[in-house]
Symmetry: C2
Subunit: 154 residues, 2 copies
């Protein structure tokens, strides 16, 4: 059981966007975001697409366009981000990959299903309890991640 890069990158992108403000500020272009975070540009674009479709991010088209967070960081949970990038948080294989019709049908007495249901609840509860605001605290401030022009010794 593991987390894919879809979710991992989605979080990085969301945090990045959260560090900029929202709405008022000029939106961030996908390419620029990818460059700063050192992630594959085309891939970032795909991910932003999913985030937008899930309503986590909003976009401005055309030149000078880009993306910004659709809601307050405190209103976006890890669960939201993960559900947007992957299709769900925890996939119940009873539904998605049933091994046997009469074993996995909702009516049959399967001793294992309650375990996965319980696990799913724990996972969703936990991921749903952490918002982007919490993550922002542990991030190095924006001054440590120079955008483009900094008086470095280059």
């Amino acid at each position: 059981m593991r987390i894919t890069t879809w979710t991992e990158y989605s979080l990085i992108i969301s945090i990045h966007l959260a560090k900029r403000g929202r709405r008022g500020v000029s939106p961030v272009a996908a390419r620029e975001l990818a460059e700063v975070e050192r992630l594959p540009a085309d891939y970032v674009e795909q991910i932003l697409l999913r985030l937008r479709r899930a309503g986590i991010v909003e976009s401005v088209r055309g030149a000078k366009g880009g993306y910004f967070l659709a809601r307050e960081p405190g209103q976006i949970t890890i669960r939201d981000v993960m559900a947007a990038s992957e299709h769900q948080t925890f996939e119940m294989n009873c539904d998605a990959h049933p091994i046997d019709a009469d074993r996995c049908s909702p009516g049959s007495a399967c001793a294992i299903r309650p375990v996965w249901q319980g696990l799913q609840r724990r996972i969703d509860d936990f991921l749903g309890s952490v918002t982007l605001t919490e993550l922002l605290r542990d991030e190095p401030g924006p001054e440590l991640v120079p955008l483009s022009s900094s008086p470095a010794s280059s």
Copy 2:
């Protein structure tokens, strides 16, 4: 994030073995187990191999050989079974699939890592709290799963 058949089958197999006694009773052959549970025989054999190496199951070689549970059902948790069949319960991608050296190295300030660590703990705690005994309760009794000789109308 999902559970693979390795774990799912491992659980089915473990429950099956738990329903028979241990030690005293004659061991169950892999082929027979597979037939009763309607699982691919060769695959079941592979899984039993992993379970044995993890010390969850013991084997008797030669004719009339087979497998039985190595410990009391109450001493075997879902976490044990899952760790045996997959290599772990929840794979921390910071370690297994780091996306970036200075982002994911244990020293660097990564805001995301604590989330995965927290998630891992929840998962392990929960899976470690459920034993085979709990699962046995919800199973149909052995009389509903005839072994080989039943007065059927065949």
